[in-house]
Structure formats: structure tokens, C-alpha cells
């Protein structure tokens, strides 16, 4: 056959027609469609045996029990533990993403020495060297522990015992505030028995949104019926304000005046069960300062006194910090005046060591600061911490994550992330009964990464000090008490102390001096950092919480500022526009949103993860609750 163009075309045509009678096109179609359903860059789901492990969430100090559903030993989902004495079968949003923390994009698996990556043991050796030099030079060493009361805390305290002049510190936390002041006045630990309370008034403190164990308080709220009334005083309509039976919208910064006004009514109407210790306000004066109608204050005071045991709770916000001292004292004093049975004595844990509040330490005195890795979920602005440090002070941080604070430390020793090491769990400091338990690890920690007790032991060893003990001592000490009850769940357990049957006797209340708000000319607005528990904490948020702030508007995200539409209108600012927030301490660009739940005259700026530092810088270095501010179009 001679090849002609015609033959070639005929062959081609025939071949093309024949292809349709072969499996080629059909099979290829099928295979390609299966291929497109299984892109290689989409991770396969893990395979393996399904098991359940038990532990506790360590994202904050609340100690909620968790059940981890695991495949091949690896947790893929967490669930609450019914009947758990601390969490009451509930968990918060942070807990449901906690099992992914070991794989967080900012996970630290190496040490950092002045910002540069080094091997973990090199970082630890560097930390030992700093500590040894400080001891030899007799400089002040401090440990900052966000979760005091653990056995590890006692180990830190023992380490510091070998370093004369050292201080064991704890940052402010909402749960410690009111109970802490009451303990001071009573001369023994005191706590709240929420179950006994019939009225609970929270002032500037998000009691139902990031206070203590979320599950316990939310269960109390959800099942309250007519048994318990929740009252909440706060300038903005926060989640807690939205959930409360009564929201009392006080003026920003008037928390102390509100509490003193209530005290004034209690004294005037003969409802106080303790002598009036201080110049409680007249109703009119309180109304003027808080911006409330006098009958509102009157009604709240009578409700507190007339419904049975009441609790008044302060402590401030996990993000925008504690209330001013005068407010915290006035709030604590209200509990004394009410003579509440819900304020109870509390047995301390046998290894509990008293910690000095960080804010009470004189400025510029600390030469070496060791920051523990545990987070209580609350913000502690770097500037506030730095203010307490001497010139050329050195910071040693134990951290599982590469946070802004970690990058600024002199040495970072990498430690286990949540769920990677055996950790201690204690009850929130406000609870009337102490609790202690162990949270077993759910996954193995990466090689080279230390546990906190290991680091403490190595620091002591490096300074030729006696070994600071171990966590095992705690269970022995608790067993030796021979009281309390243990709740067992799976392979974990938690011990709760029995009730302290003693009585609380309060010394005469100190005189409370009202701090005058500082006024700054040219700053007509008030800037308030806003956020939610965990949003600006010492450890990053679980990755899946993006659902709450970035992918929905349930929580504020970075750079967001909320103002009342009327405030914006007065300033000629448009919705969704960019603006610059200015305070006497600095300025920052923000993206404006209108929100009618923000009081007029207030700019709420979201303090969120790494961006929080920028926001706190606007508030100066003593308080991070508010600052005089103005807004400018940019």
C-alpha cells in the first residue's frame, strides 16, 4: 500500500472512531474523575483504632475535665466530662481546639537565645548561667507564675528560697481579685460558694464569659430559673451583660462609685451587717458619678440585701485587666457589708505558697525574671511587666510557643505544649473548695522539649541548690490530709477538698480612697481594650478559634475598633472606615465598626493575639483598662 494523504486521513479517522469502541476514553474519564476527588495535597484522614483518653484542659487555669477521642492514640476531638467537679460537664471554645495546640503554626520546638534559634539544651544552659550570675551578684530574681497554687509553684518557691531577696509573683486574674482581698481582710483563705448564692452581682467582670470554669458558671446560669438572679454592671453590653437578668449600664470608670453607692444604701437603710467603715456615698453622689438614676442603685441594693445570700464579684476583664484598687476594695467590702453566707473559708492546698501580686512590686526592682509557661488566659501587657524590671534586667521564659513576649525574652526554654506533658490542675482561686488533680499527657512531646518541673530541677542543679522536689509530693501531701473526695474519670482523677467548717471574721474594713480619674486635655473619648478570655493570653489561641473572630463576628478580631454610631457621627466617621486612635501614649490605625452596645464616648479596640501589644501600648504602662483617647479619620 502506498501512503497517500487520503490513506493517512482514512487511517486517522478510523482510529479516532475506533477509540470510542475501546475502553480508553471511558476508563480515562472514570480514573480522572476519581483522581480529582483525591488531590494529593489534601491530607488523608488518619486510620487506626479508636480509643478514649481522659485528661484536663490546660488552656487556662480553670482545670476543666476532658475526654479525648483518639485514633491510633492521637486525639481528634475533645468532649466534656459529665459530673466533673470543676467544669460541671461543660467546656469553653478554647478547650475544643486545645488538642491542636501541639501543632500550632507558632509552636516552638527549639530554644531561643536573644531571638535566635538554639538547641533546647543550649537555651537551658544559658538560663542556668543567667541565674547563677544573678545569685553571685546578689541581684533580685523573680518568678512570674500565672497559675499559683500548683506543686510546680511550690518548686519555684523552693528554688527562690536559695536566692536571697527573690520574689515569687503572680499577675492579676479576675478570679483572685475579690476573693483575694477578702482573704486578706479575714486573715485566712476565703472563696465563693456559688451554689449558695441567690443574687450574684458582677461589676466590670465578665462572670458568664471567661471567669473561672466556664462550664460551672454557665450551668448555674442556664438552670437558674428563679433561684438565682444574675446582675451585671458594666458600661458596655458585653456577653455577660446580655445574659444577665439585669444589666446596669454604668459610666466607664465608675465601678468604685457604683459599689460605694450600693454600700451607702445598705448602711442608710439598715441593711448592712457590718459597721460602715468608710464614707460610703450618698445616693445622689453615686448616681451623679455612675450616670444611673438613683432608684436604679436603690433597687439593686435592696435586691442584693433582700433575696438571701448574695455575692458581689469584681476582678476585671481577662483582656482589659483588673479594676482600679479602689473599685476592687469597694466590691470586696460590699460582700462584708452583706454578711453573705456564700463567702466561705477555704482550706488551702498543703503545698500552696503565698504569691506577691505583680502590681504591688516596686517599679524597677527585678533583675532576672523567670516567666512560667502556664497561662491563665488573661492578658499581661509587656509594658506593665517591663516597668517592674530594673535596667538591663534579663528575662528567662519557659514557652511552648513563639509569641511576641518570647521573641523579646533573653532566653526561651522550649517546654511541652498543652496536652503534651503531665500537668497539674487546681480549682479557680475564687472557689470555696480547693481541688487538685493531674492531667495526663495525650500526645508525646517533641524531642528535646522539656517539661516545666524538669527545667526547675535543672535550674536548681545548675546553681548547686538542693533539688526542688517533684509533683509526686503533691499527691502524698493530699493523701496525708485524709479528707476530701476524689472524682475519677477514665484514667484521670481530681481531688476536691471538704468544706471548711470555720467562720470568717473580717477585721475592720480599711478606708477606701477614691482615685480621681486623670483627665487629659484634648482627649475627649475613652479607649478600652476589648476581647475575650484567651485572646491576648500568654499562649496563642487554638487555630480553630478563627471561626469565632475571623470567619464570623461572634468575637472581635485584630485591628477592629467599635464605637457607638452617635460617637462616629459626631466625629464625622463612616462605618467600616479606617481611623487612627490616639492616646497620650501613642496612636494606632484601626478599622471602625458601629456597635450600639458600646457606650457613647467610648472606643473599644480589640486586643487580639500579637496585635494586643499595639493596643496595650496605647494605655501606658500602669493600667490597661482604659485611656483618654481621640479618633481621627485616616
Amino acid at each position: 500500500m502506498t501512503g497517500t494523504r487520503r490513506n493517512l486521513l482514512a487511517f486517522g479517522g478510523g482510529a479516532a472512531a475506533a477509540v470510542a469502541f475501546t475502553p480508553i476514553p471511558w476508563k480515562l474519564l472514570d480514573d480522572v474523575s476519581i483522581w480529582t476527588q483525591n488531590w494529593s495535597w489534601i491530607p488523608p484522614v488518619p486510620r487506626g483504632e479508636i480509643t478514649v483518653k481522659h485528661s484536663a484542659c490546660t488552656m487556662c487555669g480553670a482545670g476543666c475535665g476532658v475526654q479525648a477521642h483518639c485514633v491510633g492514640g492521637q486525639p481528634f476531638g475533645l468532649a466534656p466530662v459529665a459530673g466533673h467537679p470543676l467544669s460541671h460537664g461543660g467546656l469553653c471554645a478554647l478547650a475544643y481546639g486545645a488538642h491542636q495546640m501541639p501543632y500550632h503554626a507558632r509552636r516552638l520546638r527549639k530554644g531561643l537565645s536573644r531571638g535566635a534559634e538554639v538547641a533546647p539544651d543550649v537555651a537551658l544552659a544559658h538560663a542556668v548561667e543567667i541565674l547563677r550570675d544573678a545569685r553571685d551578684a546578689r541581684r533580685v530574681v523573680a518568678v512570674l507564675d500565672e497559675r499559683p497554687g500548683r506543686m510546680v509553684s511550690a518548686m519555684y518557691a523552693r528554688l527562690l528560697g536559695g536566692l536571697p531577696g527573690s520574689v515569687y509573683l503572680t499577675p492579676p486574674a479576675p478570679e483572685r481579685a475579690t476573693a483575694g482581698i477578702l482573704s486578706g481582710w479575714a486573715g485566712r483563705p476565703a472563696g465563693f460558694d456559688f451554689e449558695k448564692a441567690r443574687t450574684i452581682l458582677s461589676i466590670g467582670t465578665p462572670l458568664l464569659d471567661g471567669f473561672g470554669a466556664a462550664g460551672a458558671l454557665l450551668a448555674l446560669w442556664a438552670n437558674r430559673e428563679d433561684r438565682v438572679r444574675f446582675l451585671h454592671a458594666e458600661p458596655r453590653q458585653s456577653h455577660t451583660a446580655a445574659l444577665a437578668d439585669r444589666w446596669i449600664a454604668i459610666r466607664p470608670g465608675s465601678e468604685a462609685a457604683f459599689a460605694l453607692g450600693l454600700a451607702g444604701v445598705l448602711v442608710r437603710d439598715g441593711l448592712a451587717k457590718a459597721p460602715a467603715p468608710y464614707g460610703a456615698f450618698s445616693l445622689e453622689e453615686a448616681a451623679r458619678r455612675t450616670g444611673l438614676r438613683p432608684d436604679t442603685i436603690l433597687a439593686v441594693a435592696h435586691e442584693l440585701a433582700g433575696r438571701g445570700p448574695a455575692l458581689v464579684i469584681g476582678g476585671g476583664d481577662p483582656v482589659s485587666g483588673p479594676l482600679p484598687r479602689d473599685a476592687e476594695q469597694s466590691i470586696a467590702a460590699l460582700n462584708v457589708l452583706l454578711g453573705s453566707e456564700a463567702v466561705c473559708p477555704r482550706h488551702p492546698l498543703p503545698f500552696e505558697r503565698p504569691a506577691t501580686p505583680l502590681l504591688d512590686v516596686p517599679d524597677g526592682t527585678i533583675s532576672v525574671l523567670i516567666a512560667d509557661a502556664a497561662s491563665n488566659g488573661c492578658a499581661l501587657p509587656e509594658a506593665v511587666l517591663r516597668r517592674k524590671l530594673a535596667n538591663n534586667a534579663q528575662i528567662i521564659r519557659l514557652s511552648a510557643f513563639q509569641t511576641t513576649a518570647a521573641r523579646r525574652a533573653d532566653v526561651v526554654v522550649p517546654v511541652a505544649a498543652p496536652s503534651e506533658a503531665l500537668e497539674e490542675v487546681t480549682a479557680p482561686a475564687c472557689n470555696a473548695r480547693a481541688a487538685w488533680g493531674l492531667a495526663p499527657p495525650l500526645v508525646e512531646r517533641p524531642e528535646g522539649v522539656y517539661t516545666v518541673p524538669e527545667v526547675v530541677a535543672r535550674l536548681a542543679e545548675g546553681c548547686q541548690m538542693p533539688a526542688p522536689g517533684s509533683i509526686d509530693e503533691a499527691s502524698e501531701a493530699i493523701q496525708a490530709l485524709g479528707r476530701g473526695s476524689t472524682f475519677e474519670f477514665g484514667d484521670a482523677s481530681i481531688w476536691t477538698d471538704s468544706e471548711d467548717s470555720g467562720q470568717l471574721e473580717f477585721a475592720a474594713l480599711p478606708e477606701i480612697r477614691l482615685e480621681e480619674p486623670s483627665l487629659a486635655d484634648g482627649f475627649p473619648l475613652t479607649l478600652m481594650p476589648a476581647g475575650w478570655r484567651g485572646a491576648a493570653a500568654a499562649i496563642p489561641l487554638p487555630p480553630l478559634t478563627t471561626k469565632l473572630y475571623q470567619e464570623s463576628e461572634l468575637r472581635p478580631g485584630a485591628r477592629e475598633a467599635r464605637v457607638h454610631p452617635a460617637t462616629a457621627r459626631d466625629l464625622g466617621l463612616a462605618r467600616q472606615s479606617r481611623a487612627t486612635a490616639e492616646t497620650p501614649y501613642g496612636s494606632a490605625a484601626v478599622s471602625l465598626r458601629f456597635d450600639e452596645s458600646v457606650p457613647p464616648g467610648v472606643v473599644e479596640v480589640a486586643a487580639h493575639e500579637d496585635d494586643a501589644a499595639r493596643v496595650f501600648a496605647l494605655c501606658g504602662d500602669t493600667c490597661w483598662r482604659s485611656a483618654p483617647a481621640r479618633l481621627r479619620r485616616s
Binding site: G14, A15, A18, V19, F21, T22, P23, I24, K27, L28, D30, D31, V32, I34, W35, Q37, N38, P44, V45, R47, E49, I50
Partner: protein, 179 residues
């Protein structure tokens, strides 16, 4: 072209890989008196445990039991070093497929062979033929390119599942078998 389509194409479409170890289902089944579920069992949660681990093999094969080359190979390479065998699974389905062995075997009272064919009587493990495009075994499509006259136990595509469900009038919906 027809010839190429029917003969050459299938040969080009699949790569052939021998299994990392050899195994005779016949020797274990008939000779040793084991049934399928001795090794391929369920967990208490009703999940199919799949192919046994080396540890469970070693439960019997703590020492050499026979004299075959394949056992010696298995013993030396996997039991002694305690390594898992990277078996190539003929019936592996994509992640978006949910197949409940428990529902088919425990509730539906089906025999393994109804889907897996006479695999349990095989004397040796055939080479694993991987589709170059989709990555799945040739056994999913079945031995015949045309997919006609497939015997029960040949082919594990959705069509095959659907055909059986239709025959038995068992409704499963989409999410009964997908996830």
C-alpha cells in the same frame, strides 16, 4: 487501534508492585483451620480492624512454624525487627467512602467473599496493580476492562455497591456510604 485500546492501554494504565511479604490464605484457612474473622476482626466500637498487625501475626508465629521461604522472609524482615508490613490493600477506597463492615457482616449477614471474591482461598498474594491516574487498585475496577459479566466479588466501584443495594432493596442514601 482497537487492539491497542484493549490490550496495550490496560497494560500501560497500571503499574504492578509485588506485596512486601507473601501470604497464603489457603494455608492459613484450610490447613490451619482459621476463618476470616480470626485475623480480620472488629473492634468493640464496630470498626473493622482491617489487616492484622505484625504483633498479632507473631501471636502464632513466635517462632517459625513451617518451612516455606515466605514465612522465613516474613519472620526475618518483620517479626524479628518488630516492623509493620506495608501491605498494599486491594480494596482500599477513597477517604470519602464510608463502608461499614459491621453493618454488612453483623447485621446484613453477608459473607466476606460476596465482596472480596475468593480471596480467602488464594495461595499467594498477587501483585498489586496500581492505577497510574487514580492511585487505586485494579481490583476496584475489576478484572475486565468492559465491566460486563463481572462475577460477585469482582469490582468494588460505587456501581457495584449500588447494584447489590438495588437487588436487595436496601436504601442507604448518599451519606450512608459517603462521609
Amino acid at each position: 487501534m482497537l487492539a491497542a485500546g484493549w490490550l496495550l492501554f490496560p497494560a500501560l494504565l497500571y503499574t504492578s508492585t509485588p506485596q512486601p511479604a507473601q501470604f497464603s490464605h489457603q494455608a492459613h484457612g484450610e490447613a490451619a483451620g482459621l476463618t476470616c474473622d480470626t485475623c480480620h476482626g472488629f473492634t468493640a466500637e464496630g470498626r473493622f480492624a482491617g489487616i492484622p498487625t505484625t504483633e498479632s501475626c507473631a501471636g502464632c508465629h513466635s517462632g517459625l512454624l513451617g518451612e516455606t521461604e515466605s514465612e522465613k522472609h516474613f519472620f526475618a524482615n518483620f517479626v524479628e525487627p518488630g516492623r509493620e508490613v506495608n501491605w498494599l490493600i486491594y480494596s482500599r477506597q477513597p477517604d470519602n467512602v464510608r463502608f461499614s463492615h459491621a453493618r454488612h457482616v453483623q447485621v446484613g449477614k453477608m459473607e466476606c467473599a460476596e465482596c472480596h471474591g475468593p480471596h480467602g482461598e488464594s495461595e499467594s498474594l498477587k501483585a498489586f496493580e496500581r492505577n497510574r491516574i487514580s492511585g487505586y487498585s485494579r481490583d476496584i475496577w475489576g478484572p475486565r476492562m468492559l465491566r460486563v459479566g463481572l462475577k460477585p466479588g469482582q469490582g468494588m466501584k460505587m456501581d457495584d455497591c449500588m447494584a447489590c443495594h438495588r437487588d436487595r432493596q436496601v436504601e442507604a442514601g448518599c451519606l450512608g456510604c459517603h462521609r
